[in-house]
Assembly symmetry: C2
Homo-oligomer: 341 residues x 2
């Protein structure tokens, strides 16, 4: 870590011919220490270049002042926005943020959870991987009473703080919007249904169809992992149906975009012939042409909220858990706006 070992409180105690505990207290601005000695101590700390050893303090206090965050992939707009929000409030509160990505793999997630636990994080914020598991590695946090906050992709059976977007309403609004635009046969690219994020979107879609007297047709739904490639395969399948859809509610913006590119290459006009709506409001959705209608998810704010929840839980040992549902916002852009609202 360093060559000659760093100055400690004992060094500054020795210099000043006082005790280490006094130094420790002064450094924490304990009021029991006189202003004079405190100032002396602070000055000495400064001159010998003292920096508190957080490791030692953490061990002693049984508190790491660290919160962990794990996401499927750091390098995805929504998740990096959340991380940014978490870091924003955590740092202000004097906490360190440690980060890991599961790559949507159950085993990596389990391994991360163990590592975070061994590192004694004071709280864990997580959006679970796509790959299903029994979640024992997360239940462990609950059992040990280590604050746990889920965001976006949550585990229903674990009772703790959660912060999600209203995926059901999102799916509903998207579908209602497409119906309002006069589309008659609306398909859906759904994500893995073990994640309620995605099943809610699908349920919202079904609900909207039903409300409008349109029979739900399972053959118009393709379920996959919502990668760009999945989008191409799905749109290809859907458009080759005997009676293809005239609009698609895509489970995310990535599939919306790859579908759009496929359709464009086939000479199919958007939104005139086929309407497309995505989900998540990725930055590119606003600037592609045609721009993609989508549902906004306030990632940065969700991150801030998640951090606040965890900090409260750490501070007050709250026993009551809440599920914050962030409102969805439908952003109507060119890809579905054939009536030019």
């Amino acid at each position: 870590m360093q060559k000659k070992s760093e100055p400690t409180i004992h060094d500054i105690a020795r210099e000043l011919k006082i005790s280490a505990s006094t130094v420790s207290r002064a450094l924490q601005h304990n009021p029991r220490i006189s202003v004079k000695t405190r100032e002396k101590i602070l000055a000495m700390a400064d001159t010998i270049g003292y920096r508190p050893n957080v490791l030692a303090s953490n061990l002693r206090n049984k508190k790491s002042n660290t919160i962990g965050i794990v996401v499927p992939l750091i390098n995805r707009y929504f998740f990096s926005a959340v991380i940014s929000g978490v870091e924003d409030v955590a740092f202000s509160a004097g906490y360190t943020v440690v980060i890991s990505q599961s790559n949507d793999l159950a085993n990596k997630e389990i391994s991360i959870a163990h590592s975070m636990f061994s590192n004694r994080v004071d709280g864990l914020i997580i959006s679970i991987a796509m790959e299903p598991t029994n979640f024992e590695h997360l239940k462990a946090f609950r059992k040990k009473n280590i604050p746990l906050v889920f965001f976006d992709r949550v585990v229903p059976e674990i009772d703790t703080n959660k912060i999600v977007v209203d995926d059901f309403m999102g799916g509903f609004r998207v579908t209602q919007h497409l119906i309002d635009q006069g589309y008659q046969r609306i398909g859906h690219m759904a994500g893995p249904q073990n994640l309620i994020t995605y099943s809610d979107r699908k349920n919202g879609y079904k609900e909207a169809l039903e409300k409008n007297g349109i029979p739900f047709d399972e053959s118009l739904v393709v379920t996959n992992s919502l990668t760009a490639g999945d989008g191409v395969n799905a749109i290809q399948h859907l458009m080759n149906l005997p009676w293809p859809p005239d609009a698609i509610f895509c489970g995310n913006d990535t599939t919306a975009l790859s579908s759009m590119i496929y359709l464009r290459d086939k000479g199919i006009r958007i939104p005139e012939e086929v309407g497309i709506v995505g989900f998540s409001n990725e930055p590119f959705s606003r600037v592609v042409s045609p721009s993609i209608s989508t549902i906004a998810q306030p990632g940065f704010v969700m991150g801030q909220k998640a951090a606040e929840l965890i900090l409260n839980q750490i501070a007050h040992k709250d026993k009551t858990f809440t599920t914050m549902v962030m409102p969805t916002e439908l952003i109507i852009r060119e890809s579905s706006n054939r009536r030019k609202v």
Copy 2:
């Protein structure tokens, strides 16, 4: 951190009526412990749900097994890609990654550096903020011999490992490409010139002009912070010049995009009337219309390399520093390709 305190090596020692040191050794697979006792210990550890307390181990070993990374903004494609790469190799090597963002503010960066130091990170990977400072907070790491790696935005006067992209060649290639496309009057939106990242891009631009016998005209260069708004102001200024440019080398993709939108709104055709090239290959640059020519920066790979450099430095206490220069790749897309190469 937890309610009833966690099992320790002493608990498992007591259960097995052996000493804690034996347990400690067994847990580290020290060959001096017989296989039999080790297996007993491992089994017992498992049944009582023992998890090593990394904090304690770190304190004792004077090593945190943690590497810090600080970027201007987590939620920016290039930086999140780098973080993702760092996490990828660091996690595999058993390291924890702690993360912070400077928001391009000098004071936040200084505060982060202090915090990382106090947390005894084993190494620090950083891309510095736009706001200039004297870098004392970073020199401190060098002085204490704590491994330090700069990426992208580096500090020339600090001698350590660095990993950058070849910004000079990037700027050169962009400009040469625009010249090859027949553009005659090429403007440039430059970033803050205290960052060599940006001054190199500008120098590459100048060099290319010179090589082609085109006189450098300072009035065609606008220097700003390269936000979307800056791009609009800059393009407006440039296009209102008595003799406006017919091509712009934008310092990043963000300004390239906002410039493009401005021009489109003015009815100016791209690339026919004005050519645009950006820098960084943000995901949106590929999918907007017209797609934006740009320079690719391999963020994920840079992150992996940065982590490898730091891990080597930690392991071998390397005394020789290298500067890795990642090759630039010019990606020609629609926004500058009027000759349809």
